[in-house]
Amino acid sequence: MSGVVSYLGGGRAHVERPALEERRGLRWLLIALAMGFLALFLLLPLGVVFLTALRDGVGAYARAVADPETLSAIRLTLTAAGIAVPLNLVFGVAAAWLISKYEFSGRSVLITLIDLPFSVSPVVAGLVFVLLFGARGWFGPLLSDLDVKIIFAVPGIVIATTFITFPLVAREVLSVMQAQGSDEEEAALTLGASGWQIFRRITLPKIKWGVLYGVILCNARAMGEFGAVSVVSGHIRGETTTIPLQVEILYGEYHFAAAFAVASLLALIALFTLVLKHWVAWQSRRSLEPTPAAGAAVPARAVRGAAT
């Protein structure tokens, strides 16, 4: 389950533990180590991306981004993410609902299967779809009879992206649903609510931040996916290249400034995702924490409420 950080972990309040505190010197050493590592492996490369992208000036940067092939790659990336994310949103919420609310045989198998895309190498995942839908694959003859192209075409890219990003929403929503239990849903049921009313008025408000968090992660991965998409794409310029593939093509042809200009788009998406992620985590923490009014602040508020 690489790469999935449960957002509930981020919801825990900071706790002071004086007894666990290290000596001052060791603490500074650890902080310096962590910061140095971060600078070397994250900030430096990120800086290089933007510096190289702007090496030939803003004009060259704009030209590289406005190149028809690049624009087509951006369009394809948006299309793939635009289809994969909503699909995984629906699948993910449905799967999480099923697993957390019902007891059935095969439940643990389903939980394991959801993690499958994370445990399989993306390249292997891409190859699986080539073997299924490729010209000489299982469904190859059928597809060519119907004149449907999946591999080396847009549908293949969408399918591969969907497969790779499937666990992100499901896992996130599942952990939130399991943490919250079903008591409120049962209470709503005894009060006469229908299944849809329960989902819309009770479950959805409870899980909305988890869902949004999952969608953000899912979208980031969908836009940045390289391995599986590379296998099924066929690298047809201006047709089946996504942003990461376009970066590879430009780099392979020694258009360094252009390659980094396009790469900087992905870096911007990543930075934007990071900010959004933090905002969502902060929002969900606020909604999870009891309002600090439970004690002394309440009477004051009540008095104010009564006065107005």
Partner: protein, 377 residues
């Protein structure tokens, strides 16, 4: 609007290996509070969830006011359910919580407004409409949960250990409050509890469960005064079960020096249920002590004759003595090795000068004697 449960069976687990309830039948009388009482794991909560429809029975029948609702979905059963952990909708205000049942039924706004106001004043939380559940204390939350359950005018109110998560003082307060609220509403109520005091105090009918089966059902005084088994006697009132045998038409229990005339054949095994507060202790006087200095109570044996001049009294050793407010809890070691819990008013203990390690004489009143039945705890 009585509730009838007939031959209810429910097992859990993928292979149905865990017994929830087993062949349970009982009737909860109309307009009354009926307690489902039992230790944890006795199946009482499962039984309540079966009545609500939150669990599907393997076999058996549920009737509400004569109507078979076994196959009726939860939301059409018109039951009010209150959970131990409140299960309030935490993203909704108190008003929206109480109004939920009405708004999903699309009741008119004005009606909802009026009903919620009435209910909040019934649970003494008028003016709290705009608060969120997180801003309320545990007792207040549970009262809101009750108001929410009552909003839809349920035919039956089902309470699943409603005071279980609250501290002792609030629990006693809410118990009083629930009783007075029931006097106003008269809703047929099923109350699940493991607290015998709660059951005896609140309900007019008690169903005592253990291991998924009913041990005894009846009025509180019936269960208390005529326990059908040692389990019932020890669960209600914490009685100690002593076994004895019948000889010449008399049941005798050596350790407490008790013998009672019974209508049983010689050699039959009998049980005596002794409650902690039915035992009085008297300090052994110095004169009596002198004759007994050699033998410890444990070694004196169950078959030797009572040393006391009083009939029905025997000697024991005070092992432990704890003062709990107005009364004193003692644990005494009987000759023969049995231990008996005793509860005495504090002033009596102090007047008699009883202390830990003292030799005492036992005097037992109100002992229930019945033929021994094999029961499973």
């Amino acid at each position: 609007m009585s509730v009838r449960v007939e031959a209810m069976c429910k097992r859990f687990g993928l292979r149905k290996e865990v017994v929830g309830v087993d062949q349970v039948s009982f009737t909860a009388p109309e307009h009354r509070i009926t307690s489902l009482l039992g230790p944890s794991g006795s199946g009482k909560s499962t039984l309540l969830r079966l009545v609500a429809g939150l669990e599907v029975p393997d076999s058996g029948k549920v009737e509400i006011h004569g109507e078979d609702v076994t196959r009726t979905p939860v939301r059409e059963r018109r039951v009010g359910f209150v959970f131990q952990n409140y299960a309030l909708f935490r993203h909704m205000t108190v008003f929206d919580n109480v109004a939920f049942g009405l708004s999903v039924r699309r009741a008119p706004k004005s009606e909802i407004q009026g009903r919620v106001e009435r209910l909040l004043s019934l649970v003494q939380l008028g003016g709290y409409e705009r608060r969120f559940p997180d801003q309320l204390s545990g007792g207040q939350r549970q009262r809101i949960a009750l108001a929410r359950a009552l909003a839809t005018e349920p035919r039956v109110l089902l309470l699943d250990e409603p005071f279980g998560a609250l501290d002792a003082r609030v629990r006693v307060e809410l118990r009083e409050w629930l009783r007075s609220m029931h006097e106003q509403t008269h809703v047929t109520t099923l109350l699940v509890t493991h607290d015998q005091e709660e059951a005896l105090e609140l309900s007019e009918h008690v169903v005592l469960l253990a291991d998924g089966q009913i041990q005894q059902a009846g009025s509180p005084s019936e269960l208390y005064e005529n326990p059908r088994s040692g389990f019932v006697a020890s669960f209600l009132g914490g009685a100690k079960v002593l076994t004895g045998s019948v000889a010449q038409g008399k049941a005798s229990f050596g350790p407490i020096g008790l013998s009672t005339a019974v209508d049983l054949a010689d050699g039959a095994r009998v049980e005596a249920f002794v409650r902690p507060h039915d035992v009085r202790l008297e300090k052994v006087s110095v004169a009596q002590l002198g004759t007994e200095l050699d033998g410890s109570p444990g070694a004196s044996g169950a078959d030797s004759a009572p040393r006391s001049t009083e009939p029905g009294a025997r000697e024991a050793l005070v092992e432990r003595l704890v003062k709990v407010g107005s009364y004193v809890k003692l644990s005494v070691l009987l000759p023969g090795g049995d231990r008996l819990n005793v509860q005495m008013p504090r002033h009596e203990v102090e007047e008699r000068g009883i202390a830990q390690g003292d030799r005492v004489l036992l005097e037992v009143r109100n002992v229930k004697v019945s033929p021994a039945i094999d029961y499973v705890i």
